[in-house]
Every structure is written in structure tokens, then in C-alpha cells.
Symmetry: C2
Subunit: 458 residues, 2 copies
């Protein structure tokens, strides 16, 4: 181990290598709820792709498991290290290298946070549109989990907004994939294979992301519904209307009450309507002119009324922003309420009513509860699971995931499998696919050093 | 061979298996220009995924190279069979299985043509937006090549519009990937790995495609420019304007003259302007209301004027449609003019002026010519190469591709490598990536039976 420490320190410099008790607690966990923290053996903070490559060569040589870390805001435990492992922390590789207005892309290092990227692109009236709740998350983390978020209904997920990578293979080879180009049909798409691979195939050391024009005018419409099924039935019709919302969320009444209470939201909804409401739709619209936005908001209001909304509230700038921020913080609210686990399952949007009704039934039968909100336009359901008994909870989670898959969905829409959801996936997925993925993993990582507990069993 | 014939006939039925001289010439080629046709040993026409699986098992058992065939409209030779090979033709698997309006997807068999899919979705006011020039192409072919086309600037390429697959592995195992869902983060994305793999990894037997609302109002604006560089400089500014064109093409003056001549186009452009024009921009806009469309067309006209257009023509319904159709048929026009090869290179859109100027210089130096048109919004350049001498042409093509890669682009934007462009790719690509792709190929196809001449050398 002394030898390994010396080798690693040689690469990044002694002050950028932490070992043993000198490693702060933060490096031992991400925001996943069910696993205890685990202090790694080493934390290295490289400054260049070449340093990352040298670290991976040493790790391969000594069979050291490697976990990449961005901001540590993941929700599935993909950044949870092994006790004998090396954390490669990208905190020093946090530069926006270029904002290219002609090609409408930014070239960034993986440690850049979404807040910093937004600040760098704002002066150019451009924006990276992937918008997971946590804006301190890093672009590298977005790549690893294939992050989604509220704006995905219009702008797509990380997969649609990451155009190219520089990445280091576990062998220490450095490759470039994609580029400042929106299309390519030249061999297999390595960019898209690495996006969403949760640090199990290669480590991204540079990311080319797509930027979109910032539209000047936006508004948020909030519509309470008496009936959950009405909310879900409304979603496809809003999508088909051509209004093109950039946010289309549902929030159930329990979650909304918690958000209002913990974050002092003032939405101007009378008690009587609030009490008879089972769920809310949040519809955010944007346009390049104020007049068009006003027309679209009016049309959205009419449409929501026709679809059975109890009322329609057009939120002003400040309260609209606070509602969206509260929605971003829903995870923290539910964590503070002592949720035992979380689910970010995706199902075909038309299957949401059936899925949510069945999940409520399953949770009740398990002696627990399931409440939440989600990206209704994408069929991506975020649930906090309350079920204290571990055995009952494991069965409940398995039943929920099995149901989602039976309805044509998948276990995770945007958080990834990490360590937390991978065992469910291995139990429920077609074994032919599990084995195929394992062979793909081996084609990148023959020594099996990259995040060996994530996706696959070690 | 008699034994193999009997085994294959057992699977698909004798009348759905062709051998020897009974095989029509069409099965021996696609629309690639440089390879002679090659009659395969067998053509099988399966009706189900199970039949495809059984065919691949026999092929694996006897080491028979397998080439999948949709409509045979590919431009890179990915559907060009081996003489000792089996063509799996999807012509009988041509059903639209479902148009799901709630989830806005269609589920189709791979042999469905774009014309038939468009007819099936039109009554629902929905549309599959991938629009390669040739509308007799099949959805399965779109999956194989990761097809793009004119609408990609707004709606993305096949990769963005294929949400899920049923696919048969060379081992005969049948898997399902993705689903009626726009996002998923549950293991590696097999859908996106198979899209664009040109029949070298697995054969798609069912495809779930995304549908978009058909907007009721559209218009086409044609703008001649005196100077090539002005055209290219205009493109990023049109994108940044927020007008959101669904087509943004350039056509050089030689190609436009050929289109006008061969297809009797009447565009109403005075001789004087036509003679002083080096290239044209075609900008198509759409909206859900006529009034907004009119406003957008006016704004586009102003903008094009500010950007240096010699004039701006708003084309009426009929002539707009004929211009777009002529552009779709550009390949046939250039083929009829005896083009020696074609290029569909992609570069960052900002690099197009430099790339096109350098290509013209290279072509002239080689004693040939390079003319064309392209998806300007995507940096995807379509060139017809005129250079009769094979050695000079090979060097010219190599120089063009090397330049594109040096500028941060790639050899093919939407046609694929096929047999025709794969040798250039192997010569120019980072060998680390070629070897990585080869290992990925082996993880799907250990016997190496699927299109062994495509992407890799056999």
C-alpha cells in the first residue's frame, strides 16, 4: 500500500492525494439513502486527462477498484466507493474551456457544476438545458447518470445534449468521441454508450454539450385537479396541443403540502380547492415574444379547464420561480420527512394512471406509503417510499419495479442503477441482456476495476 | 450447401427462400456507386422474429455471412452481400403494428417504408420526422444507418426518434431494448448502440419510433447569395434567431442548375440574380397558426436580407414542394450526371466555409470536381465527386475525410460507413477506437457472421 500511495502521489502531487483518516467524510457517500458511508483507501484529485490515465494504469496494475466522483449529488450510489478503492475526484477539473457561439456548444471539464456552466453561457444568451433538481451537480455526473430533469420534456436528457467526450479507458488510453456536431454515423456511437454508464466503462475528462437559445419570455401555469387519473389523462393532450411546454410536472397533494409547508410557498390557492385536490399539474411555457407567450398561456388555461382542472393559476415571476425551486428541492423535503427509499421509475406516459394506482395499493398493503411528483410528460415518476421494515421494503420495491417493467417501463428514468437499484435490475432483467452488458463492460474494462459494484455484481 | 438450403427453407418456407440464379439482381446491390453488384448464395424472407432467430442460428452454425436488407436504398454499401452469404430481406415484415396516440409512438416492423408509415400516422395528425431523401427507404434501414435528412435540424436523426427495439442477436437470442419511453437510465443503452451499427451487431425485428404533432402551416423561403462564405456565416445566426426552421439546407449553384434543368423547376429567379449567385439557402418554417407562420416568414426574410441575400423568395405550396422534392432527388440527379463517388461528411457547422473551400481546392488539384448541397444546420455536407481516375479519386477522398476529421468532424453524417467508406475510416481513425469497436462487435457477434465487410475488415 505504501508503494501504491507513492505511485498515486507521484501522478497528482502529494497534496492532491488523500489517504486514510485524512479523507473527509464527504468522499464516502453520495445522496443515496440506503447505504452507509464507506471511506475509500485513496482520494486522488487529478488536473488533466493524462493524470487520470496514469491513475487508471496504476489501478489496473494493482487491481484497485475506481469510483469517479463529480459533486457527489447522485441518488443511486454510483459514487459510493469501496473501502479498498480509489476515488477519482474531478473537483480540480472544473473549467468551462470554451463557449462556442457559432456551433452553439460548450466544451467543459467534468467537474464543472451546472450553476457555473449557466453563468458562463448566460452572457451569450445560450443555455445547457439539462436541469436535474440539484444545480450543484457536475456535468461529469450528468454524463454518468444520463441526467434528465424538468426541461427534458422539451429539450431531452443528457444523452441528447452531450455531443462528444474525451474519455480515459481503464487501460489508460485516451480517446475522443463525437464532436461539435449534432449528427454522426461513423462506427458505433461511443459517446452514447458512455453516457449513462455510471463510471463503469470509461471516465469522461472533457464534455462537449449542446447549447440552446435562451428565450426571453416564460410563464408557469398551476392547475389543481380533483382526480389523479384526470391529471394523467391531461398530459398526452397537452403534449399533442403543439404548445410545446418546457416543463410538464405533476405533484401529488401530500408532496405539495410538504413543499408549501417547508418552503413557505404562497400560491394563492383557496383552502376549499386545495382540500378537494388530489394532484397538481405544473405547465411552464416559453416564447421568443411576449405576445405569443400571453396567447399560449391563455390557450393552456382554456385547455386545462376543458381537461377538468378545478382552477388555473398563472404564477407571477417570483412565485413561479419559488414553485420550480421547491419542486427542485422535493428530494430534500422528502428526505427530511424520513423517506426510507426513493424510486425514479419510468413508464409509458399513458400507463402512469395505472402504475400510480397500483403502487399506492402495493405500498398500503406493505404497511407503508408512496408519495411524490414527477416528470409527467416523460412518464418519469419520482416516489418517496415510506416503509421502515427492510424485508417488506425490499419486496415492495421489487414489486414496484416489476410492475413498471411489465408496463413497458424501466427501473430508472434518470438516476441510474448505481449500487442501490442494481440488485433489483439483475433480479428482474432478461439474463440475456445482463450477460450482453457484462460482455460490453469487459470490452472496455477487462480488469474490471471501474465501479465493480455498480450495474453488475463484483 | 444442399443441407444448408434445406435448413433455411425449413425455417421460412421454400417459396420464401431464393438461391442461385433464381435470385433477382436487386438483392445484389444497394445504391452505393463504386462496388459491382454481388449475387448472394441465399435470400431468405422471414415473417417473424423467431424465423430471423432461427436463420441466424443456422448462419452461426455454418459460418455464413449475413447481410440484412430493407429497401436497398442505402448509399454506402451496407446492404451489399457476400457471394457466399445470406441476405435476410425484411420485405415481408412490413406492418405498422400500432399507432399509439397517447404515447405518441408507432410500433413497426423493420420493412415498413417511410411512405407507408407516413400514411398510417397522417390520420392521427402525427408524423415520424426522420426524412432521408428516399422515402421508399425502410425504418429498419433508418435504424441501421442512423438516417438523418432534411428535418434533422429541428427533429433530430434516427437516434433521437428510435425509442426501442426488438432485436435478434447472431446467437439467435431475441432481446427487447428501450420502450415507449423517451428517457431511461437503466444499464447501457443497447437501443443507441444498435442504431447506426449497420447490421453488424444485431438485426432489428421491431422498432418503436417517436411521433410528433403535424403542424398545420408551413412555408419555404429561398435565398440566393453571391458568396459561399456568406451562406455559411448566415446559418448559425438563423439557428440563434429562435425561428426554429425545420429545414435549413444549402444548395450550390451548379447543383441548383442541375436540379432546375432535370426537374423543370420554375422558381421565379431572374437570370441576373441566378448568374451572380454562388449558393442558395432553403429555409422552411412551420407553425400551429397561420398568423405566426406569416410573422416568422417575414422575420426570416428580413434576417436573410440583413445577412446578405441577393433577394428572398417565399415559395408557394406547389413550387415549395417541388423544390424540396428536387432536393430529395439530388442524389439521382448527380448520379445521372455520372458522379464517381459521393461524400456525406459532417463537420462543425462553423467549419463549413473552410471545409468547402478546401475541398474545392483539393478536387481541382486532383483534376476533378466536387459539387453538392447539404444539411447546413447540421454541418452535413453532401458532395458528388467527379474524378475518373481511381487512384487520384482514392487520394482525393482520403484527403477530404482527413480534413473533415482534422476540423473536428467525421466521415459520415448519416449514410454510414458501409463497405464503401469503411476502408477510409480504418485508415484514418484512432487505432485504439477501432480496436475498442472490434471488441464491442465481438461481444455481440463472437462468430463474426453479421456483415463482416462492413465497418471492419473481414
Amino acid at each position: 500500500m505504501g508503494d501504491i500511495t507513492a505511485q498515486l502521489a507521484d501522478i497528482v502531487g502529494g497534496h492532491n492525494l488523500l489517504t486514510g483518516d485524512a479523507i473527509p467524510d464527504d468522499y464516502g457517500h453520495d445522496e443515496e439513502l440506503t447505504h452507509p458511508p464507506q471511506r475509500p483507501a485513496y482520494v486522488a484529485k487529478p488536473a488533466t486527462a493524462e493524470e487520470v490515465a496514469a491513475l487508471l494504469k496504476v489501478a489496473t496494475q494493482h487491481q484497485i477498484p475506481v469510483t469517479a466522483r463529480g459533486s457527489g449529488t447522485g441518488l443511486s450510489g454510483a459514487a459510493l466507493p469501496r473501502g479498498d478503492g480509489l476515488v477519482v475526484s474531478f473537483e480540480r477539473m472544473n473549467a468551462v474551456l470554451e463557449v462556442d457561439t457559432t456551433n452553439q456548444v460548450a466544451v467543459v471539464q467534468p467537474g464543472v457544476t451546472l450553476v457555473d456552466l449557466d453563468a458562463a453561457t448566460a452572457p451569450h444568451q445560450l443555455r445547457y438545458m439539462v436541469h436535474p433538481g440539484e444545480l450543484s451537480s457536475s456535468v461529469g455526473g450528468n454524463v454518468g447518470t444520463n441526467a434528465g430533469g424538468m426541461r427534458a420534456v422539451k429539450y431531452g436528457i443528457a444523452r441528447h445534449n452531450v455531443l462528444g467526450l474525451q474519455a480515459v479507458l481503464p487501460t489508460g488510453e485516451i480517446i475522443r468521441t463525437g464532436g461539435k456536431i449534432a449528427k454522426v454515423s461513423t462506427g458505433y456511437d461511443l459517446t452514447q454508450l458512455i453516457v449513462g454508464s455510471e463510471g463503469t466503462l470509461a471516465l469522461a475528462t472533457e464534455v462537449i454539450v449542446k447549447l440552446h437559445p435562451r428565450l426571453d419570455h416564460s410563464a408557469t401555469v398551476l392547475a389543481p385537479f380533483a382526480d389523479f387519473d384526470q391529471v394523467m389523462a391531461a398530459v398526452p393532450l397537452i403534449i399533442a396541443s403543439g404548445l410545446g411546454p418546457y416543463i410538464l410536472e405533476y405533484i401529488d397533494n401530500v408532496t405539495m403540502a410538504a413543499l408549501v409547508h417547508t418552503q413557505n410557498l404562497e400560491l394563492g390557492i383557496p383552502d376549499q380547492i386545495r382540500d378537494s385536490c388530489q394532484a397538481y399539474l405544473v405547465v411552464a411555457l416559453e416564447n421568443r415574444t411576449a405576445q405569443r407567450l400571453d396567447e399560449d398561456v391563455e390557450r393552456a388555461g382554456e385547455l386545462l379547464g376543458e381537461l377538468g382542472a378545478l382552477d388555473v393559476y398563472v404564477l407571477e415571476g417570483g412565485s413561479a420561480r419559488r414553485l420550480i425551486e421547491a419542486r427542485e428541492n422535493a428530494f430534500w423535503t422528502l428526505k427530511a420527512a424520513h423517506a426510507d427509499d426513493i424510486v425514479d421509475t419510468v413508464v409509458p406516459r399513458g400507463a402512469m394512471p395505472k402504475f400510480l394506482a397500483a403502487v399506492r395499493g402495493l405500498a398500503t398493503a406493505a404497511g407503508g406509503g408512496a408519495v411524490g411528483c414527477g416528470h409527467a410528460g416523460d412518464g418519469n415518476v419520482h416516489l418517496a417510499i415510506f416503509c421502515a421494515d427492510p424485508m417488506a421494503r425490499k419486496k415492495l420495491m421489487t414489486d414496484i419495479f416489476a410492475l413498471a417493467m411489465e408496463l413497458g417501463g424501466a427501473i430508472s428514468g434518470e438516476h441510474g442503477l448505481g449500487r442501490a437499484k442494481a440488485p433489483y435490475w439483475r433480479a428482474l432483467e432478461d439474463p440475456v441482456k445482463v450477460e450482453l452488458l457484462r460482455r460490453i463492460k469487459q470490452s472496455f474494462d477487462p480488469a474490471g476495476i471501474l465501479n465493480p459494484d455498480v450495474v453488475f455484481a463484483p
